[in-house]
């Protein structure tokens, strides 16, 4: 790894180092997350991008140690949160971190709320887990939180059941619940995927606004490059359990340096150009049970074109542009990253 090229962690809130999360299933060991490292500074937003099944969500669950075990296990790595390795905490200590210091918003607002309790009581519950307050105080906080996430008629809505709210409202409730204890890190796992476009935009605006107000860091997991462009400071692109590219959002969008990232960009429709067939990446994400030899992306890669090196040698993540003040280094896991950098990508 080429971590030495990164600037010394000024205020690295979260550092994930060589995280490996495996699932032992009947067919063998599925390497869902296979050596992922990244760093998230205080107050910043990191986008974790990739297709379905590339290990984004498992990475998020690993940080909270919520990977269902068995069959899942965190095989190795370190997850440093404010310098403490979360993987070494006791179950009780970990519970103090969850929801309190690190909170999570899930993809499906429809199913993330318990249908048999009012939304208010579920937020109150989350507050009471971590704060020594009376129920009445917790309720007052809850109404405030709901107002804070712009839930209309928040006082009455606190007594509503999940089925009485729309998807967007439920996601606001989920965000309010996540913010209940003013966490330092918010993990948002595809928070807008299940919502329609206009509501999704509002939720993203809300997240940005709250992030600024609360000064928290956000790990935003998404497959949507548009969402990344709009909300993140830095991006890490995942493919087949590994990071394939990471850079500041601006750098990545101005010049992607991995053929997979380029493929993601090309598969986006763009305005202004007449009827061009979208260039989908051929094939599908390989099964985490059997990754291709050499570069894991080579069977789907437009740059590889059957080159021997791609099939034989596993590429390492390397810094192509060194870090400067306020700008992280640009990493790519491609033997021919320089070639990739030459490719024109119209956005």
């Amino acid at each position: 790894m080429t971590h030495e090229t990164q600037p010394p962690a000024a205020d690295g809130l979260l550092e994930v180092e060589e995280l490996r999360t495996y699932f032992d299933i009947d067919e063998g060991t599925a390497r869902a997350v296979d050596g992922v490292s990244f760093r998230l500074s205080r107050g910043r937003t990191l986008g974790l991008v990739g297709e379905s099944g590339c290990g984004k969500s498992v990475t998020a669950l690993s940080i909270l140690r919520l990977v269902p075990a068995p069959p899942g296990r965190i095989a190795s790595g370190r997850i440093l949160f404010e310098g403490r390795d979360l993987l070494r905490l006791s179950a009780e200590e970990m519970r103090q971190v969850r929801g309190n210091r690190i909170a999570m918003v899930f993809q499906e607002p429809m199913t993330s709320l318990n249908p048999v309790f009012t939304v208010g009581s579920q937020i109150i519950e989350a507050i009471l887990f971590h704060q020594k307050v009376t129920k009445a105080e917790a309720r007052a906080q809850t109404v405030q939180l709901l107002r804070r996430v712009h839930l209309p008629a928040s006082e009455e809505r606190a007594d509503a059941y999940p089925h009485q709210l729309s998807g967007g409202m439920k996601q606001r409730v989920m965000i309010a619940m996540a913010l209940a204890c003013r966490p330092d890190l918010l993990i948002a796992d595809e928070p807008t995927t299940a919502l329609d476009v206009t509501v999704a935009a509002q939720i993203l605006d809300l997240l940005k606004e709250l992030q600024a107000d609360f000064g928290m860091s956000v790990l935003l997991i998404t497959h949507d490059m548009g969402v990344v462009a709009e909300t993140t400071d830095e991006v890490a692109v995942m493919y087949a359990g590994e990071l394939v590219e990471s850079a500041s959002t601006r750098a990545l969008f101005s010049q992607p340096r991995h053929p997979y990232t380029i493929g993601l960009f090309r598969s986006l429709p763009s305005l202004g150009r007449a009827q061009r067939r979208l260039a989908a990446i051929p094939g599908a994400v390989p099964s985490p049970l059997r990754f291709p030899a050499g570069c894991r992306f080579h069977p789907r890669c437009f740059l590889s074109r059957g080159r021997e090196r791609c099939r034989q040698e596993e590429p390492q993540l390397r810094a192509l542009v060194l870090a400067t003040a306020g700008e992280p280094a640009h990493f790519s896991r491609c033997h021919f990253a320089e070639e990739a950098a030459e490719v024109e990508v119209e956005l």
Partner: protein, 391 residues
């Protein structure tokens, strides 16, 4: 744009919709289920009668009169000498005809009035307050003929539903017997409920080896045919026990058989609920295992549990009846519907004294009422139905 949506939502809010909990929606649907409502009220009446058994029953369950063995229901008369009078009965005695059948003769010279709030056998109302007034009955002095000055012959007895072999009032015994038969289902189900939720919840939530061990244990219990297990367990234990001990034992035995099936279904539900996002969300907000099981997992099995349990109460009632009828349950002189039916095992008895089948009717009515109520609950609390209603 966000503002616009907010305004739109505020306008919707102008007509506030009452917040109905899922159970409220369920109750609303239940009320439309006529048969279930009727069954519910039948049960309410039965249980109220059970609570007031001492007061409603004209006699104590063990108050016998050998001279009135198998007395048929006493006719209550309202007309005397062509004029309306207060209700009264005649004292009756029997002789045998040539086929050794009982022939009942009324002593028409001596009407005995049926009195309300009459003093009779002493009891404790609701088990607390000593009392001796009964809703209705015969005054003891009047019944034995003391007040009319006639020679004390066979005393008058009030048997609205007939008498058993030892001349005990069947109505009184039915009322006292309901205390066993109506509560055994509830107590049994309560035990099944606790055991089933606990084992099913733990098994489904933690999975893995815990799950395997607990579920194989359940299957061991389910493997054995229930009735034989019941018989075996009962006969393994000493036959001379007080009625209270027998009662507790019966409940324990039946719960022991009943919990396994319930636990398995709960486990299946927990298994699916455990992986719902709101459980993961609760974990992510720092909830402990116990909090998650109690707050998030088990409440979501409630609609199933309520229905399954109300449908399984009849099983307990029938189980008690069966054991008592075979002489393994509640023992004479104590009454339960099952041991009252014991007398009806002989076809000849039924032929000549058909009223001894009445406990069977009581069991039938109760079991049917529970089944209808359970059906209604199932329809009303079906989660899919609920969301259809709510959506």
């Amino acid at each position: 744009m966000a503002r616009e949506e907010e305004n739109a939502e505020k306008r919707v809010e102008a007509a506030p919709r009452p917040s109905l909990a899922l159970w409220q929606l369920g109750l609303r649907r239940l009320r439309r289920h006529r048969l279930a409502v009727a069954a519910f009220w039948v049960l309410v009446v039965l249980y109220l009668m059970m609570l007031c058994a001492d007061f409603l029953a004209p006699y104590h369950y063990d108050n016998e009169s050998r001279q009135h063995s198998y007395s048929p229901p006493t006719p209550v008369r309202f007309v005397r000498d062509g004029r309306l009078s207060r209700p009264y009965v005649y004292a009756r005695s029997y002789t045998f005809d040539e086929y050794r059948r009982r022939v009942w003769v009324e002593d028409r010279s001596r009407p005995v009035p049926v009195r309300f709030f009459v003093k009779g056998d002493a009891y404790r109302l609701l088990g607390l307050f000593p009392a001796e007034r009964h809703l209705f009955g015969l005054d003891r002095a009047e019944a034995s003929g003391g007040s009319t000055g006639a020679a004390p012959g066979v005393p008058a007895r009030l048997y609205l539903l007939g008498a058993d072999a030892r001349g005990r009032d069947l109505l009184s015994r039915l009322l006292y017997g309901s205390r066993v038969s109506l509560t055994i289902g509830l107590v049994g189900v309560a035990m099944t409920f606790v055991l089933g939720l606990l084992v099913g919840g733990i098994s489904g939530y933690f999975g893995g080896r815990t799950d395997v061990v607990l579920m194989r244990t359940c299957e061991m219990f389910m493997m054995i045919p229930g009735f034989y297990l019941m018989l075996a367990l009962r006969s393994a234990l000493p036959p001379e026990m007080s009625s209270v001990e027998v009662y507790v034992l019966l409940v324990a035995i039946m719960s022991l058989i009943g919990w396994a099936g319930f636990a398995r279904v709960v486990r299946g539900m927990v298994l699916s609920i455990r992986n719902r996002e709101y459980v993961v969300a609760a974990q992510a907000s720092g909830a402990s295992h116990l909090a998650i099981i109690v707050r998030h997992v088990l409440p979501n099995t409630a609609s199933y549990a309520i229905v399954a349990l109300s449908l399984s109460i009849p099983g307990y009632i029938l189980g008690e009846s069966a054991l008592s009828m075979l002489g393994l349950g509640i023992q004479d002189p104590h009454a339960s519907w099952g041991n009252l039916l014991k007398e009806a095992m002989n076809v000849a008895q039924i032929r000549f004294h058909p009223w001894i089948l009445l406990p069977g009717v009581c069991i039938f009515v109760t079991v049917m009422a529970y089944n209808f109520l359970g059906d209604g609950l199932r329809d009303a609390f079906d989660p899919r139905g609920l969301t259809r209603e709510a959506g």
